[in-house]
Structure formats: structure tokens, C-alpha cells
């Protein structure tokens, strides 16, 4: 089973501050990987480097066997890496449908009636079907999160990175979003999930990687990782 993503020795600095140091991880095709770690441990920086929003100074990232090098973010999306944002970034002057039409057009090259049909299909799957023609700036928090995922899906990715999609949501809303992610994974998409809500992480992940202060401190089977004393120390402090 080949790896869809290979990260080797990744390093990223911001001025004098080292955000990531010698980070390596592999993601199997079709896997559900959970990425955990306390605030400031570098999780978002890591996915920013993978998605291309930031440039890593050391190390390499290979996607589907091909190195990503200095490829800009939009090109990585076109290769098949999609991500959602921690704080939703809707195209606020557009309707929900129009939001999805952008990646459909720019990644898939589909427009017009065909794109509309595909967009409606995705929205129905995610559960936002009725809101298709609503202005994206009128959506509630959970609806915005769903639209973020829907928009990422419209880019037809092989790898989806979900950055704290459930932060701040209520119990039932969390389950809602979790179900969507599991359903997406069943249809063949590899998913990396960053999350703090532990029961969601445990339910979702086949494997866990834990970061602390820019380094990987533990990786493997979820139950084992969570029981690891290093992980406890990272979260609770010394």
C-alpha cells in the first residue's frame, strides 16, 4: 500500500522562532490520520507547509510519489491536496453555490449548468442543500464549517486536511461534521484531521501523530499514543 504523503525532515522558522523541527510523517492512501498537540505546537504550520501557504526551509514533501518542491498553493490544490481553514474563510460576496463553483471551475475546469449540478450534489451530501442560494455571509457557524468542507470537496481532492473544523461547535454539531468526514473517507479520500476534541479524534482516527513545540513526539495507534506519558506532559505541562 503506497503512501499518499511523505513528509521528511520538515523545518520551518519564523525569524528567530523555530515552528517546526525535523518533522517526518507518512500518510497511507485512504487513511484517517489524526494530528494532535497543544496550542502552538506547530500543527497549523505543518499543514500550511503541506498545502503550500508557507514555504518550508528544510526537508521535503512528496505527494503521490512526486516532490512538491516550491509549487504554489493553487497548484498543489490542483494536484489533489485540499484543506479547510480553522476560521472559515467564505467568499462572502457570493452565495453558497457560487462558493463551490470557484474550485469546480479552477480545479476541475467545470462551469455553467454542469458545475451547478455538481455543486448541488456536494451540498446535498454535506447537508447544506437548502442553503445553496443563500448568501454565504448569512450562514451560522456550523453551516460555515460545512461549507468550508463542501468547498474543499469541490476541488475533488485525494487528500483532505481538516483544520479544527469542529472547534467551538455543540455536541450534536460535532457529531454532524464527524459523520461527514467519515463518509468522505469511505468514498476514498485520505483525511488528515487536526482537532482538540478528544472523543472525535478517537472515534475518527486510525492512527495518531502528536506534535509538541514543533517536533513529533509520538505516533501510532490512537490508544497507545493517548496513553503515552510524553503526550500527557505536552498537554498538561510539567
Amino acid at each position: 500500500m503506497e503512501n499518499i504523503l511523505e513528509v521528511k525532515g520538515l523545518g520551518k522558522n519564523f525569524g528567530g522562532f523555530t515552528a517546526l523541527s525535523d518533522v517526518s510523517l507518512s500518510v497511507r492512501k485512504g487513511e484517517r490520520l489524526g494530528l494532535i498537540g497543544p496550542n502552538g505546537s506547530g500543527k497549523t504550520t505543518l499543514i500550511n507547509c503541506i498545502s503550500g501557504a508557507l514555504r518550508n526551509e528544510q526537508g521535503t514533501i512528496e505527494f503521490q510519489g512526486e516532490p512538491l518542491g516550491h509549487l504554489p498553493a493553487f497548484a498543489r490544490t490542483r494536484r489533489g491536496i485540499a484543506r479547510s481553514f480553522q476560521i472559515p474563510r467564505p467568499f462572502h460576496s457570493m452565495t453558497v453555490l457560487e462558493n463551490l463553483m470557484v474550485p469546480l471551475a479552477y480545479v476541475g475546469g467545470v462551469s455553467g449548468k454542469k458545475a451547478q449540478a455538481q455543486a448541488l450534489e456536494i451540498l446535498a451530501e454535506i447537508g447544506l442543500g437548502e442553503k445553496a442560494h443563500a448568501s454565504s455571509s448569512s450562514l451560522s457557524q456550523v453551516e460555515l464549517r460545512k461549507m468550508e468542507l463542501a468547498r474543499a470537496m469541490a476541488a475533488r481532492p485525494q487528500l483532505l486536511i481538516s483544520d479544527e473544523a469542529m472547534a467551538g461547535l455543540s455536541g450534536s454539531e460535532v457529531d454532524d461534521v464527524l459523520d461527514i468526514l467519515i463518509k468522505l473517507n469511505k468514498s476514498g479520500i485520505t483525511i488528515i484531521m487536526i482537532e482538540h476534541i478528544m472523543h472525535a479524534v478517537m472515534r475518527f482516527s486510525e492512527r495518531l501523530v502528536c506534535l509538541d513545540a514543533g517536533q513529533v513526539i509520538c505516533a501510532g495507534d490512537p490508544k497507545t499514543v493517548v496513553a503515552n506519558p510524553e503526550v500527557h506532559r505536552a498537554y498538561l505541562g510539567d
Binding site: 504554489p72 493553487f74 490544490t77 467568499f91 474550485p103 476541488a155
Partner: protein
């Protein structure tokens, strides 16, 4: 088809007026309003559609004007060639400024555009060929086609340019590129992650916007029979290029058109009834008032009125 009918009618109207015996002043004033339409529409392609504010409008207008001048001085080029040359160089300037600053945040682009004006001003001041600080007097060519006076001919040329400018804006707005630019304006990060090549699109907008601003400036030397840096690189152009789309509405191609017509007529009224200094103040005040109270411009107000009266 409806749009093109109107566009054709507009040109026919302009030609008809020029051939008629109407008062010469109409064409002087009309030229200014038509130039304003090109200015506002051009600015809006980068400012309204993509969200990058160009303060250096006088610089681009100046490049258009001085390129046209150079063409005239060197090879006595006809007006259309001057305009094309002006547009090309202004577009190139747009590309350069874009490449330098579009990787950074929007405000750095804006400040860089101010820099452009000063640097160009310094270049012209130090160039004897371009007239330096004192400027150059020109004699207009005698070829006026069928229109009787040179001003009338320029009026018609500008009318055609205005139609071209608005058509370009309309095309971009409704196209793939316009969709991408809107995404960039709303959230550049999300646009990148949706596969939009943001840098490329921004550069395209920069070039087209710059070129149109150059088109607005190119006929100036011929229109005034005179050119000098102080009035060419005047801040006035920057303020009106911003005010017109903001007043009319920045998200639609009709916005700059509406803004230009409103502001153009208002300016005429104020200059004639009150004073010309106050005229300038009015523009500034209107800009601030609209930015604060009606940021979507007249078009936005119309939309709101439509949805509330349903």
C-alpha cells in the same frame, strides 16, 4: 445583444453630435466626462474587482500622456497609434509594479503606486526631451477626419475608447477571470486553496487596469495642445479615479460609469455655481461619505431598495 445595441447607439450618438452644429464647449466638457469614464472603469478592474487600491493613477495617466507625446515628437504618429503606445507602456508599468508588490499585502501595493508617481515625476522633470518642468507646447495636426475641429474628433475617439473600456470591464466581470478576481478579493487564501492562481490573475488585472489608465491619459497632450508634469501628475486624477467607482459601485461594470456621470455633472454644476476650489472639496467629501455610509455605491443602494420593496 441588448448591451451591444446600446454600445453601438452610444457611438452613433457621439458621431452624430460631432457632426452637428452643437456648441464647441459641449465637446470640451464631454471629452472630460468620457475620459473620466475610462479612468474610473480602468481603475475599478483592479480596485473593485480584485480589491487592490491604486493611488498612483496620475503616474499611469502620465505614462500614457508622455508616451503619446514621444510618439508625436518622434514620428508624428496619428492619435490612434499614440493611444495604443500609451496603453502598452502603461500596461507594462502595471506589470512591473505588480510583480514587485503583489506578493505582499494590499497596502504595500497601494503605497508602491504612490511611489511610482513621484519617481516618474522626477524622471520627466529631468528630461529635456520630455519638456522638463516647463513642459512642451504642441501644434495639433490638421487631420480631423470628417469632424470639423480637432476637439470634436478627440471627443469621438474618446467615446469609442469609453465604449471599449466598459466592454472590457463587462467581459472580465462575467468571465472566468472575473470569478477568480472576486474570490481573490473576498479571501485570497481561500482562493489559492480553491485552485485559483491568485498572483497570475492579479497581474492580469494590473496590466489591463494600467493600460486603460494609459488610454485615458494618451490623448491629453493633443487635447490641451500642451503638457507639463505638474498638472499631469496631479493628485486630482487619483481622487476622482477612486471616488467615481466607490460612488457608483465597485462590483459591477456599470458602477464606474454611473459614478463618472454623477461626479462629472456635479463637478460642472459646482464649478459654475459656487467655485472651482470647492469643487475639489466636494469630490473628497463625497468619497468619504460613500465609503462610510454606502460602501456598495449607488448600485448597492439600488439593490437594497429592490430587495426591501419586494
Amino acid at each position: 445583444m441588448k448591451y451591444w445595441t446600446f454600445a453601438a447607439l452610444a457611438i452613433v450618438l457621439a458621431v452624430g453630435l460631432a457632426l452637428s452644429g452643437a456648441n464647441e464647449y459641449l465637446f470640451f466638457a464631454g471629452f472630460v466626462v468620457l475620459q473620466a469614464i475610462v479612468l474610473a472603469t480602468g481603475w475599478n478592474i483592479l480596485g473593485g474587482y480584485a480589491g487592490y487600491v491604486n493611488f498612483g493613477v496620475p503616474g499611469f495617466v502620465g505614462v500614457g500622456a508622455y508616451t503619446a507625446l514621444t510618439m508625436h515628437l518622434l514620428i508624428k504618429a496619428p492619435i490612434l497609434v499614440q493611444i495604443v503606445a500609451g496603453a502598452m507602456l502603461a500596461g507594462l508599468l502595471g506589470l512591473l509594479v505588480g510583480m514587485l508588490t503583489l506578493r505582499l499585502r494590499g497596502i504595500f501595493f497601494s503605497i508602491a503606486t504612490i511611489a511610482v508617481v513621484y519617481i516618474l515625476d522626477a524622471v520627466v522633470m529631468n528630461s529635456r526631451f520630455l519638456g522638463g518642468a516647463t513642459g512642451i507646447q504642441l501644434t495639433r495636426p490638421t487631420d480631423v477626419w470628417l469632424f470639423g475641429t480637432y476637439t470634436r474628433m478627440l471627443f469621438v475617439v474618446m467615446a469609442v475608447m469609453a465604449v471599449i473600456a466598459v466592454s472590457v470591464a463587462r467581459y472580465i466581470q462575467n468571465s472566468h477571470i472575473g470569478q477568480g478576481l472576486r474570490a481573490v478579493r473576498d479571501s485570497e487564501e481561500a482562493a489559492e486553496c480553491s485552485g485559483v492562481p491568485t498572483l497570475k490573475l492579479k497581474l492580469i488585472a494590473c496590466v489591463i487596469s494600467g493600460a486603460l489608465l494609459g488610454v485615458a491619459g494618451a490623448p491629453m497632450p493633443m487635447y490641451l495642445s500642451y503638457i507639463e508634469p505638474a498638472s499631469t501628475f496631479n493628485l486630482h486624477y487619483a481622487v476622482i479615479a477612486l471616488a467615481m467607482p466607490i460612488i457608483g459601485g465597485t462590483s459591477h461594470w456599470a458602477g464606474p460609469l454611473i459614478g463618472a456621470l454623477i461626479l462629472g455633472s456635479l463637478q460642472q454644476i459646482v464649478t459654475v455655481t459656487i467655485s472651482s476650489e470647492l469643487n475639489v472639496l466636494v469630490v473628497g467629501v463625497l468619497l468619504v461619505v460613500f465609503v462610510v455610509a454606502a460602501p456598495d455605491g449607488v448600485i448597492g443602494l439600488i439593490r437594497k431598495w429592490k430587495t426591501s420593496s419586494k
